[in-house]
Symmetry: C2
DNA sequence: ACACAAATTGACGACGCGTCAGAAACACCA
DNA sequence: TGGTGTTTCTGACGCGTCGTCAATTTGTGT
């Protein structure tokens, strides 16, 4: 005997999903300043007070979106860390995951960065901040784990005093820093930068080579493996363009 | 016959300097949300309307601070590009300049990042945005110039299809990305990262080595030259701590 | 059918933004 | 020095958004 009238509880959860959905939509297409509580209430055909039953303020909504975002990122990293072919292939797959993430889920990437700002972060609840921190922690752990396994396999030897996490920070920063600059620096082409994606692929390759992570690949080998990885590890995601066309 | 009563024009300029000064102070110590026009007016003992004679809105004040910031950065890069000892020493000096910048002028670094946000950037005048873009452009040009000279000297050969600017983007992203993560990711230590500065120094070294920029240095040589550079190129700035103590 | 609990509503006070008409300060000249 | 036109300053005001809460509606259990 299933309830013909859907449970109130489910109804509320459904609305919360829809709330985050439309919030993301507004954020991506119209920007942060357009994301007001009034607007959200209108869009969902409820009163403002109802929105406040879900989230205590606007910032917490953004953080909730960021948690979703980093969960998605983590699921991509999870897939990446299953790549066959040794640690070098796995760290490559992580790089591929990042490019897929930025290309296919621009709203998630945007929100992940938004939330770094003190004016948003500071107004959120500890509970949700912990959630975010934990996800971030797990992502880092996943990638650092790849580095650790590389060390265990003898494919990688880190300089004295550098932890795997600190090494991963370089890759993380290079990647997300580049994409961030790409997304926020207007007119990169006229500054001499054709494609941020190409720059990241090559930059990451040389950084990993610079750390002497075995095997060392050249650009063609690297590029070939990127596309192999895309197809085998991320069959459900749209495939990446060749390096020549950005 | 110098005017005993200072010119009104000067008085206004003086106030504008003071305005940016106190705005930076508030931003650094109390955060963006505390930076209100009312607050600034109070702090400067003027009426709100007077502030609006200087800047058309809050965002433009932040952008004006960012322009100051990037000018400071450029002056450090200028000094860096005079370093003796070949292109490898000059690019190292740029790295040193970045670390000095972040350590000694945290308010400037903060503001440079703040302004990347659409909600601020979009509300600013084209005139000042151009100013910002030009400064950024010049900074990039300076560093890319170092790479170009390295290529001319035969110290560096870039992979096919990669411009010097795109290579510099990797260094830029690694550096500013790391510092940004360091400044905004709470509890890095518990995530396994002791010192962002150390991570950046080592990451940059290996990335540059990875691009096969001659001469190749090991960690000790690199570290030694960092401190030489700090003293010879930036004698007026506080010197950098050894890599062991962050 | 009734009573209790939970969720919803929108009017409300507070606050910061940006404006603008009037007041004050200033510069210039006779 | 006094008069006049211009620049600068001022703060009260209108507006929009935030977050609250008492009143109301809706849901649930007996």
């Amino acid at each position: 005997m299933k309830p013909s009238k859907p449970n109130k509880r489910q109804e509320i959860q459904r609305r919360e999903r829809q709330l985050l959905e439309t919030a993301g939509q507004i954020l991506l297409t119209e920007g942060y300043s357009e994301l007001s509580m009034e607007r959200l209430a209108d869009e969902l055909n409820t009163a403002k007070g109802t929105i406040y039953n879900h989230f205590p303020n606007r910032e917490e909504i953004v953080l909730a979106m960021a948690v979703q975002a980093i969960n998605k990122r983590q699921s991509l990293f999870d897939a990446a860390s299953t790549a066959k072919g040794g640690s070098r292939m796995r760290i490559l797959a992580v790089g591929v995951a990042c490019e897929i993430y930025v290309r296919s889920y621009p709203a998630l990437f945007l929100v992940e960065n938004l939330v770094r700002h003190a004016s948003i972060w500071d107004r959120c609840s500890d509970a949700r901040r912990d959630l975010m921190r934990n996800c971030e922690h797990r992502c880092m752990g996943l990638v650092a784990g790849v580095a650790r396994s590389a060390m265990a396999d003898g494919d990688l030897e880190l300089p004295r005093g550098l932890s795997p996490e600190e090494m991963v920070l370089s890759l993380w920063a290079l990647t997300s820093g580049s994409y961030l600059i790409g997304a926020t620096s207007p007119s990169l082409p006229e500054i001499g930068i054709g494609s941020v994606y190409r720059s990241v692929r090559i930059g990451i390759l040389h950084t990993i080579n610079g750390f002497n992570w075995q095997p060392i690949w050249n650009l063609d080998e690297h590029e070939k493996r990127i596309h192999e990885t895309t197809d085998s590890v991320f069959p459900d995601e749209p495939s990446l363009p060749p390096i020549e066309d950005a």
